[in-house]
């Protein structure tokens, strides 16, 4: 106990814990056992601080509170992110572990829908079955579906295709791969998107992921009739299946932009703050 409380030992433990706390040295990711070692070191550090002086006890109490709060939030807290495009909803988020590793999908307390995204980065979310509107901005997080949601940042979710129908009931729609929409009097489904379209042995394929020659395979329906056709941005209306009296064209491709939000539930946040405050009071009270 005396040796544990020696200034050099206390300083060495504080230094090691300080290095481990830095996000620039991700020691928790080095080995699964590191977390346990650090927890043990934190416990030893707290024990080493306990002595007969009141300020020192206060520092030990604060450090213990802070360590317990951090450990609780590392083990029982939940944090991660969710990515949504406008109009999209979800009941889950991508959870990350304490070491930053993705843990998979985790359920939210309620469905969340991204209603609106503004140029200044503020987003409006619909929660509690669309009964409550919540604004989340880069400067202000909010409590949604039992979690703190904040830090909205732009995210590219893929590519949107702007399809145009002419030659009769004309119209235009912006669609993702797999989407189905009504354009004019046609029901159009984007079956497959080819960013860099090419054909080899009569088989269409994409030479790369770069949008050098964007094209798409569509399924078009009108009443009982159905057609499959290719639209290529560089050659509008090149493919006109028999019986289809409309011209379909891939007018343009645009990035499908959405928003990624940080999601966190840290039940011991208040306790951690209290711990830091008590340590500060203890250090300030120490012999100067």
């Amino acid at each position: 106990m005396t040796k544990l409380g020696a200034p050099a030992v206390v300083a060495a433990m504080a230094l090691l814990l300080g290095l481990a706390a830095s996000p620039d040295l991700p020691v928790l990711g080095w080995h699964p056992a590191v977390g346990g070692v650090l927890a043990g070191l934190a416990a030893l550090f707290v024990v080493s601080l306990v002595d007969r002086r009141t300020p020192r006890r206060l520092v030990a109490l604060g450090a213990a509170t802070l360590a317990l709060a951090l450990a609780h939030d590392a083990l029982r807290g939940e944090r991660g992110s969710l990515t949504l495009s406008e109009g999209q909803g979800t009941r889950t988020f991508e959870e990350d572990g304490a070491d930053g590793r993705p843990l998979g999908l985790h359920p939210l307390g309620d469905a969340v829908v991204l209603e609106e995204r503004r140029p200044d980065g503020t987003v409006t979310l619909l929660a509690e079955d669309a009964a409550r509107r919540v604004e989340v901005s880069p400067r202000r997080a909010a409590s949604v579906a039992g979690y703190r949601v904040g830090d909205p940042r732009r995210a590219t979710l893929g590519t949107r295709l702007r399809l145009r129908v002419t030659g009769g009931a004309s119209g235009e729609a912006s669609m993702r791969e797999g989407d189905k929409a009504r354009i004019g009097d046609l029901d159009v489904t984007v079956e497959q998107y080819f960013p860099d379209f090419a054909v080899e042995n009569n088989q269409p394929f994409s030479r790369s992921d770069e949008p050098r020659n964007p094209a798409a395979l569509l399924r078009v329906q009108r009443g009982a009739s159905s057609w499959r056709l290719f639209v290529i941005r560089a050659a509008p209306g090149i493919h006109r299946p028999e019986g289809l009296d409309r011209t379909l064209a891939l007018a343009d491709i645009v990035p499908d932009e959405g928003v990624t939000l940080s999601v966190a539930r840290e039940p011991a946040a208040l306790l951690a703050g209290l711990g830091v405050l008590v340590v500060a009071v203890g250090v300030a009270w120490s012999r100067w």
Binding site: L15, D24, G273, V276
Partner: protein, 350 residues
């Protein structure tokens, strides 16, 4: 008025650096009037910086410069205050106010005072200042390398920004000369310190050459700062990385300038015990202020990002723990205080 502010801040930064040199000379000579002069220059140079508090991104740097100036004529703290003032004037105007970062700036200033006093207590105890100057030279090498990267090997300085890539051979040449001078000075003084056994000075020639090389490096670093500003500055001022490069070079020059006067003096003046006691007191204060910054960062993180465990909170917690180690230990105190200052600088600039 708005466009004059950066210029004013740079001028204040240079004045703070000058006050650091005056403070270092005064401390080496034990001249109270010069110490008072250094203090007056520092406070007069820090006051105009308060005009920058309307810029959120400049607030932590202004806090650092003002607290360092008010804390007394401590050469290291004033040298860093000079660099902070230059950076405060050049950082982009946009940003979000953060009490946590302002407290971090104040803690960094107190940390610089603690480190400076700790180093000075070694000199006042009769130890030679060769090591201190050698470390300052090594620090300058590190800062010059951080600014120039690998391009210095081609005697070039390349600056890449959103406006494009700019090659500046003249800045590269001066940076390389600064690096070579600082390296030469650090090695000569380090070798002299290692060779010294009974006699304080092993080789007066090596000592004189090392000192000259370091002074040359300080001059080159200042010239390089000007050239870097010319290269990186556009109509709206330099981008953040360019501003940081210039401030790092001002810090490098200040670092050397505040350690060399101790080499010129016959023996450092001052009470070693009093300096160390002051340093210990300041170390505790650094921990308290850093813990308050941790608290503020946690609250800000919870309100803004939804989590209290933001990278800033973690960096500050790390700095508080390292600072606690520095206030506890009786061995390697100066090194621990330098680590604390480094951790606070990372939290402030990351």
């Amino acid at each position: 008025m708005v466009s004059a502010l950066p210029l004013l801040a740079v001028a204040c930064g240079l004045a703070l650096s000058a006050s650091s040199v005056v403070a270092a000379v005064a401390a080496a000579e034990g001249n109270r009037r010069r110490r008072q002069l250094a203090r007056t220059i520092a406070i007069v140079a820090a006051v105009p910086l308060l005009a920058l508090v309307t810029r959120p991104s400049a607030q932590p740097l202004v806090a650092l410069a003002v607290v360092a100036a008010l804390g007394g004529p401590q050469p290291l703290a004033l040298a860093l205050a000079g660099a902070a003032a230059v950076l405060a004037g050049l950082v982009p105007m946009a940003g979000v106010s953060s009490l946590a970062l302002v407290l971090t700036g104040a803690a960094a200033a107190l940390g610089a005072h603690a480190l400076g006093r700790s180093a000075w207590s070694h000199l006042a105890a009769g130890r030679d200042g060769t090591w201190t100057s050698s470390v300052a030279g090594a620090g300058t090498c590190g800062l010059v390398l951080a600014v120039s990267g690998n391009d210095i090997l081609r005697w070039d300085y390349v600056f890449a920004s959103t406006r494009g890539r700019v090659d500046a051979g003249d800045a590269g040449l001066v940076l390389a000369l600064a690096l070579l001078s600082a390296l030469g000075g650090a090695l000569l003084l380090g070798a002299d310190a290692l060779a010294a056994t009974d006699a304080t000075v092993a080789s007066p020639l090596a000592r004189r050459l090392g000192r000259c090389a370091l002074l040359l490096a300080a001059g080159f670093a200042l010239i390089a700062a000007g050239l870097v500003l010319r290269v990186t500055g556009g109509p709206d001022g330099p981008p953040l990385s360019g501003a940081r490069h210039a401030a790092a070079l001002v810090a490098a020059a200040g670092l050397i300038a505040c350690t060399v006067p101790a080499l010129l003096a016959e023996g450092a003046c001052g009470d070693a015990l009093e300096e160390e006691q002051q340093a210990t007191l300041l170390s505790r204060l650094v921990v308290v202020v850093t813990l308050l910054a941790v608290l503020a960062a946690g609250v800000e993180g919870w309100r803004r990002a939804g989590t209290y465990l933001t990278p800033l909170t973690q960096r500050l917690l790390s700095a508080a723990l390292v600072g606690f180690a520095a206030s506890e230990t009786t061995r390697l105190r100066t090194l621990a205080r330098a680590l604390t200052l480094g951790a606070l600088a990372v939290a402030l600039l990351a």
